[in-house]
């Protein structure tokens, strides 16, 4: 590599920098949301779906028992109960978990603009994989 190439290569690519910026501001927003909703929950401002006193009896049992006892739906069903103190915590958690998908959509777009077709294809495949995981389709087979 020539010294000019090296100087260019040392710097992160524009696509990488865009990814970093989205990740930084998104993570910050997600953490703030998570802390606010947690405060609403534990300080009793929002009534929870499962009373707090019930949890020590339920958290030592498996997820299926916990869901049955609290009539907690699988997948995105928690959105129906989002007004409940415990369920509203999933807004921040789901936002943080979805952040990588947003970042990859943006990355695929930027890689496409830079004509890096192979990397763009991988980024699109990653979006599909993460979206499949997030969709809630893959819930069968759990105990």
């Amino acid at each position: 590599m020539t010294p000019v190439d090296l100087k260019t290569e040392i710097k992160a690519s524009p696509a990488q920098l865009h990814y970093a910026d989205t990740l930084f501001y998104g993570a910050l927003l997600g953490f703030v949301m998570m802390l606010i909703t947690y405060a609403l929950y534990v300080f009793g401002i929002l009534e929870p779906q499962i009373p707090l006193q019930e949890l020590p009896r339920l958290w030592s049992q498996d997820a299926a028992t916990y869901r049955a006892a609290g009539t907690i739906p699988q997948g995105w069903g928690w959105l129906v109960l989002v007004g409940k103190g415990d369920m509203c915590n999933f807004i921040g958690v789901a936002f943080l978990a979805a952040l990588t998908i947003f970042c990859f959509v943006q990355l695929a777009w930027n890689l496409g603009k830079a004509r890096q077709w192979l990397m763009m294809s991988i980024a699109i495949a990653e979006v599909l994989v993460l979206s499949l995981a997030a969709s809630g389709i893959l819930v069968a087979g759990a105990h």
């Binding site: 590599m1 992160a12 970093a20 990740l23 949890l55 997820a63 028992t65 978990a97 990653e126 994989v129």
Partner: protein
């Protein structure tokens, strides 16, 4: 920025770190003994009878909270929670264990940074072994802990080019796909089998940490065809020396195949996977240590996202315990980074390896029902 070395301060910091580790050891042993005693007491018929009355009342509260009157009237005879509940009553108030988890994760965060391991690999075996939470919820929280740490570190690593997208993208696609399969497998298998496999894995990780000697700049004489096609090479500036370091990878196919197993294990046990990512990227594929560590941390944000979604969708995340874990570990990591300038991490690393042996053995015994 440089720090003047002060032997007294460094000694004091090491002493603090040792005391923290000792406190964790004694606390874990105490809680383990107390919980075992409580479990055996909870099996006595009198205790069960006394508790069943409380269950009927609490189930009424639970069902009334959901606003389901039909279910509430049915609960007079039998409630789902009552019928399925073989667990011992926990005499602690609801806030006790989340608060204990917050402090525990704070200390864990300090220790993890000093030992150079991710939080997830310590969190899952220790919390599943010594706290009253079911393994399903511990794995869900463990993935969120690892994910939160990776999301926080990711932007800085990407901006400094320590995390390389060209290296990360193909690896992430394989690992995240397999993490979904691992998560589904982990949730489908009986808990005792997963617990046993977790114990074996943790013991393996302890041995790996004990034996592996990472290479700061592995020598890669020839970049292989796959690495060339995927553009797995780059340049970074070493800030400590101002040197420009060029790197490329080799043995790429073998590395990519290993990420199948790494992804499955990350999803199955909720461990995060930094303990495996770094040796594969560094020792096998030949990426410089800084690039391997940075890319591994960034990779966790992708691998753990896919597995975390599976756990989240299955109701394996209890916010009351997951969020104190995330906050505690992140605060502990911030303090740990500051202490790192003064402490001797080698001693802490060996102590962590001992803790992993202990936690692995505990998980194994618990899984085998001994």
């Amino acid at each position: 920025m440089t720090h003047d070395f002060c032997p007294f301060r460094a000694g004091a910091t090491n002493m603090v770190a040792r005391l923290l580790l000792l406190a964790v050891f004694f606390w874990l042993a105490g809680q383990s003994a107390a919980f075992s005693a409580q479990t055996s007491t909870g099996n006595q018929p009198a205790a069960v009878l006394a508790r069943s009355g409380q269950d009927a009342i609490s189930s009424q509260v639970l069902l009334a909270a959901t606003g389901n009157a039909a279910h509430a009237s049915a609960a007079h005879t039998s409630s789902p929670a009552q019928a399925l509940d073989p667990a011992p009553a926990d005499s602690h108030p609801w806030w006790f264990w989340p608060l204990a988890l917050l402090f525990f994760c704070f200390i864990l965060g300090i220790i993890a940074v000093m030992a150079g391991v991710g939080g997830g690999v310590l969190f899952v075996p220790l919390v599943s072994g010594f706290f009253p939470f079911h393994l399903d919820f511990v794995r869900g929280a463990g993935l969120l802990v690892a994910l939160a740490g990776a999301l926080a570190a990711g932007p800085g690593l990407l901006r400094r080019n320590f995390a390389n997208l060209r290296l990360a993208l193909p690896v992430a696609l394989i690992a995240s796909t397999c993490a979904i399969a691992g998560a589904m497998l982990g949730l489908a298998l009986p808990t005792n089998i997963v617990q046993t496999c977790l114990g074996v894995t943790i013991l393996g990780i302890a041995i790996l940490l004990l034996l592996s000697k990472n290479s700061v700049r592995p020598v890669v004489t020839k970049q292989d065809g796959l690495s060339l096609a995927l553009g797995m090479n780059g340049v970074f500036l070493e800030p400590s020396t101002g040197e420009v370091v060029e790197w490329k990878t080799h043995r790429t196919l073998m590395g990519l195949l290993l990420f199948i197993a790494i992804g499955i294990m990350a999803g199955m046990f909720g461990l995060g996977a930094g303990w495996a990512n770094v040796p594969v990227l560094n020792l096998l594929m030949g990426a410089p240590l800084k690039v391997a560590v940075g890319t591994s941390k960034f990779l966790l944000s992708i691998t753990d996202t896919s597995a975390a979604w599976v756990y989240l969708n299955q109701g394996c995340v209890i916010p009351l315990m997951a969020i104190p874990s995330i906050v505690g570990l992140m605060l502990g990591s911030v303090v740990g980074v500051r202490l790192l300038a003064w402490a001797k991490p080698k001693f802490i690393r060996y102590m962590v390896i001992m803790v992993l042996f202990f936690a692995g053995a505990k998980a194994l015994l618990k899984g085998l029902g001994w």
